[in-house]
Symmetry: C2
């Protein structure tokens, strides 16, 4: 089955809104073997919507629209499509009752303009919307299928998941496009490619894409046009092969977050973590505490931005700062030791570096970062060089710290943790 | 002048890529009075591209395409459009030389497949691309104008800014759509609407939109279809009126960042800042140090996540923690006092609260946040209640802290700072 998307909204054409709905819908449909072959965005005007839906029906016979289902004068999608398909509107008492209940819960009462939201094309199927006020609509007419969803992203996603995808499942040709992602850190794209290049042929017919970013290189495996069971089996097998081949650098899959995995691993071992941040200024702490339940294993730490903070809060010796500079292995080690001992942490990490744009020198260019790890009182440090602007250097440094901690916590070496 | 966008790429239809280019282009064109009337996304196949460009030319007479200009087999946009407009391709020596120089700088040499990137439609104008390898193209044919740009966002934006917008300026009908944004914090949408509601009529023909988010409510003023000079004059006047009417809550315009403005104000007064964060876990420090040059006025602080960190690093009395709980005015004040005194800061803020999803109680539900400000040794605290999930509560708390600091630093009261 093929389908076209028609997204309605003048704000899309003017660029006031970025169309994230289309990408989400494209992925969700491809995963069940329904292929989006064209996407059109038009203004909230009857003629533009009419032309776009009419042409899509003629070309493809199936259309999914988003937007233009609300109660205001600009919301005309339903009227245009009902007329196009010759399905006159009728007032639906069930929708009206549901709207009344919803409004009552919010402590408001319905007004006349809400009546338009209870009008539905005769012969169409109502897709109940528990997450907002405009129901979705599914029209099956001689000219083809038109599915209409609201443009609010949360409502669109809920209606897709609960109403549209179950109805479309099995209507595809059985050939799906599905992906899996293996997440890596601490290894460059080219080294990675050298390591797994030989594997690529063995993974066929799956394709492999390298997606480098500030958290490392994500590897996206895609099965194109296989049957669902075969696609999933091949993706699972290929994911396992990549993990086996890449080893410790492949720390997760899909939407995995390294901070969350690290906190889980610490919890499993009953170990407590502390951090000392200079150039990242809180970004590492923010990543860790973004995860609910972080308090079980994260004690906190120090934003040792100025030298005074390094001395006062972490007992870093002024002599070290003078002799080696704040960005040095010596200072990084003193910071990690200081925060671990102040807070009684089993594990601590420190980050001190030059995020830029200023502050670089020939010996320590922008992107130079020293990092130290304190494990049960023993401290090691390493120098790293990151590329990119200030935001990228900081994000890469935080990810490197998380990855270093992750390696220590998941190591089989009992001397570590 | 009206124009249509045709964005080319199978990855757009599959949802592997979110089409952010279209929104950027839509805004940039509207600002010079060129109106995007339709946007179509198609796969990298010659037929699909041909149909979409052909129909757009017939309807509107002007088309801007993105994507499909690279050196691989999938990149067919140029070939399809050249054939459609009857402008046969020729090899361009200047482009070939520029590519060679670019490759040499990157330490690589050109291969045969790169030759395709030097092929241009005869009679077309080359838009030199210093930021990537595929030049843009401008074709002016009897059927209309087709502008082709690469799909890489940075390259597209540079070519739009330096090559396309200057050529299109003045080709519009002189009627532009331009916006200005006034940024507010610390005041709810409904209170704001009550305060400036009476102003709305006076601002006509500008429209006013309320855009609530975690940093507060942004107010977007839009001039629709005025001449550029008039639009800009009216926007400047309306922006000034909103500021005068809203007062201190309106802290900035456009893309202003409250953290950057706060750091500038501290620098102007020669005052040093420190922070103590519990539930925000580093997010406030991260926001401040995202700004280059923060080190001139930001000393650092403490991530006092666990009680042990509050006691050890901020000298918060265990008795206060036991009697009032970590989320209390007493503890917030002790945290602010502690960090200010440890680091010798002129100004300090502390944040302690319940970000959720767990940890709430009837007396202190999720979203309860206590915040304290220490100014030259004097400390005040306030309780706030934020809505939303964990991420939203944290982001709102950080913005409230920045806004509180901003009010103190910009106050005319000499007793403050």
């Amino acid at each position: 089955m093929k389908i076209e998307l028609v997204t309605v909204g003048t704000e899309l054409l003017l660029g006031f809104t970025v169309d994230t709905n289309s990408a989400w819908i494209g992925r969700a449909l491809a995963e069940i073997g329904v292929h989006v072959v064209r996407r059109t965005s038009v203004a909230d005007t009857p003629d533009a919507i009419h032309d776009a839906v009419d042409a899509a029906l003629a070309r493809t016979g199936a259309v999914l629209t988003t937007g233009g289902l609300g109660p205001t004068r600009d919301d005309v999608t339903k009227y245009v499509v009902a007329e196009l398909l010759g399905m006159p509107l009728r007032f639906d008492d069930a929708i009206w009752a549901m709207l009344g209940e919803r409004w009552a819960r919010l402590g408001r009462s319905l007004v006349e303009s809400n009546r338009s939201q209870a009008m539905v094309p005769t012969g169409g199927t109502v897709l109940p919307n528990q997450w907002g006020s405009a129901p979705g609509l599914w029209l099956d007419a001689p000219r083809g299928i038109v599915i209409m969803l609201p443009g609010v992203p949360t409502e669109m996603m809920k209606l897709m998941t609960h109403e549209v995808l179950p109805r479309l499942a099995g209507q595809g040709d059985g050939r799906v496009i599905r992906s899996a992602v293996v997440r890596t850190s601490g290894i460059g794209e080219s080294v990675l490619a050298e390591g797994i290049g030989a594997l690529e042929d063995e993974l066929l017919p799956l394709s492999l894409a390298y997606l480098p970013g500030v958290t490392g290189v994500d590897l996206r495996l895609t099965a194109w046009g296989l049957e669902m069971a075969e696609a999933d089996a091949r993706l699972a097998d290929a994911t396992a092969r990549l993990h086996a081949n890449i080893g410790v650098h492949a720390w997760g899959d899909g939407d995995d977050d390294l901070a969350a995995l690290l906190l889980d691993a610490l919890r499993a071992k009953g170990k407590m973590l502390a951090v000392a941040e200079s150039c990242t200024g809180g970004l590492l702490g923010a990543r860790l505490t973004e995860v609910a339940g972080a308090s079980a294993v994260f004690l906190g730490g120090v934003l040792a931005y100025a030298d005074a903070a390094k001395r006062e809060l972490l007992a870093v010796d002024q002599q070290l700062l003078t002799n080696h500079g704040a960005v040095s292995g010596e200072v990084a080690e003193a910071m990690a030791r200081g925060v671990a001992s102040r807070l009684g942490a089993d594990l601590a990490v420190s980050i001190t570096g030059i995020a830029g744009p200023g502050g670089g020198s020939p010996e320590k260019p922008v992107g130079t970062v020293w990092m130290a790890f304190a494990v049960n009182g023993a401290v090691t440090s390493q120098r790293m060089q990151f590329s990119g602007d200030r935001a990228e250097v900081r994000a890469r440094a935080v990810q490197a710290a998380l990855f270093g901690l992750w390696r220590l916590v998941t190591s089989a070496n009992p001397a570590l943790l």
